[in-house]
Subunit: 240 residues, 2 copies
Amino acid sequence: MQDTAAAGGRERLNRAKVLNAAVELADEGGFEGLTMRRLAAQLSVVPMALYKHVADKRELLDGMVDLVFAEVEVPADVDWRTAMHRRAASMRQALLRHPWAVGRMETGTPGPANLHHHNAVMRCLRRDAGFPFRMAVHAYNLMDAYVYGFALQEKTLAGDIPAEAARRQKAVVDRKPTGLDDYPYLAEVVTELAKTGFAFADEFEFGLDLILDGLSRMPQQASRTASSGSNAPLPPSART
Amino acid sequence: MQDTAAAGGRERLNRAKVLNAAVELADEGGFEGLTMRRLAAQLSVVPMALYKHVADKRELLDGMVDLVFAEVEVPADVDWRTAMHRRAASMRQALLRHPWAVGRMETGTPGPANLHHHNAVMRCLRRDAGFPFRMAVHAYNLMDAYVYGFALQEKTLAGDIPAEAARRQKAVVDRKPTGLDDYPYLAEVVTELAKTGFAFADEFEFGLDLILDGLSRMPQQASRTASSGSNAPLPPSART
DNA sequence: CAAGCTAGGCGTACGATGTACACCTGTCAA
DNA sequence: TTGACAGGTGTACATCGTACGCCTAGCTTG
C-alpha cells in the first residue's frame, strides 16, 4: 500500500499529485480551463481514475484552495503591524499566482492550512496586538475584505489599466456616438492613466497602510511593538 | 417593429424581458442555476429564441450586471463623505439582493449604467471632495476593494456565523481527532460568536467608517462639506 | 507457494449544458 | 398582393461531471 510507486516501478496516482496538477492546470488555463478530463489527460490517466482520490470536483477545489492557503505566510516574532502587513502582501501574491482562487478562498470545507492560517492571524490580533475580541473580529473582517476585494479587482482588471481601460471605453464609444463626452471624469481617467501609468502594487500599499493606520489608532489597541507581550487579554481556552 | 406586443395581441420577447427574467432566475437559483434552457422555459420559449436578443451567455451576463449597477445610487448634493458612504451601502445592498453579481461587477464589457456610475463616483471624489487625480484613484480603488471584498465575504459566509462557523469547524473536528484544540484562537471565535452573535451590517459600518476617516485625513483633501465647491481641481475636458 | 482480497486504473454510458445551422411564420412596407 | 425580414422553432453536436461495473496487479495470509 505504498502510494508513490509500486515495487515494479509503475507510477501510481496520488491525492497530492492530483491536487498539484489541478493547481498547475488552473494556473495556466484559468478556472474554466480546469476540467476533470483535461486534468486526467495531464496525468496520463483516464478521467474516472481521479475519482479514486477525490470525491468530486468540489472536493478537488477544496484541496486546491488549501494548497494556496499553505503558500501564505503569517509571520510571527515581529510587531503585529508588520506581521499583518506581510500577511496581506503574501496573500495578494498568492492570489496573483493563482487567480482562479480569488473569491474561492472561504468557500467549501476549510482544510488544515486554512484553519492554521486563521488561527495564526487571530492569535496575532488578540495576543500580539492586544485587541479585545470584538475589535479583533472587526480588524480581521476589514483586512480580509480589503485583500480579497483588491485581489478581485487586480484579477479582473489585470493589465487593464491603462491599455485595456481605453479599449473598454472605446468599445462603448463605438457603440453609441455620444461616446465619452457624457463622462468627462471617466475620460480623465483614461487619458491620465494612459499618460502616467498604473501600478497595482502601489495601489495596494496605499489602502493597506491606511487601514493599518486606522487600526493602530484604535483606543483598544495598546500599540505594543513586540509580539512577546505576556499581557495578552486572554489565552483562550474555549471548548466546544 | 414594435417590441412589446404585436397587433394581434401576441406576446413577444424583448431584450429587457430576457434580462429581467435572467436576473430574477439568478436571484432565486444562484449563478449556476441560471441556464439558457431554464431561462427560456421561464419565458415560455424555446432555448434558441433567446439568441435573437442576446449574442451569447457572456453578453447576457453583461446586461444583467448593468441592471445591478442601475440599482446603485450615487447621491449628489451632499458632502462627499456621506455621498460615498451611501454609495457603498447601496452597493452592498444591491450585491446582497443579487449575490450572483458579486465578483462579476467589473467583468465583461461595461454597460451604460456602469459608466454612469463610475463617472459619478469619480466626479464626487474630484470635484466635491477636491482630491487630486492620483489620490482620487487611490480612494476609489480602496473603497471598491473593500465593498466588493466585503460583499464576497458576506456572500460566502452568509448566515455562517455563528451557526455555520461551528458546523464548519465541527466537520474538521470530526475528521481528525486532534480537533480544535490545536487552534485555541479559532475555538474562541466559535464560542464567542455563538454567545454574542454577529451582525454583518455593523461589521460593514466599522470598516467603511475607518476607511472614510482615513481618506478625510488626507492632506490633499480640503475637507469641504458641501458639493457646490466651485474650486474644483479641474473640470476635466480630456478627449480620446 | 497458493489463494483471494483489495486498491486503484479503465470503459461505457447518461443527462445537462451552450450554441451553430437551417427552417418556418407572422407582420409590415411597397 | 407581394416580398422582405424580425423573430420563434427543431435538430444536432461537442463538452462537461460522474454513476456503475469490470479488471488487474500486488499484498496479506494460510
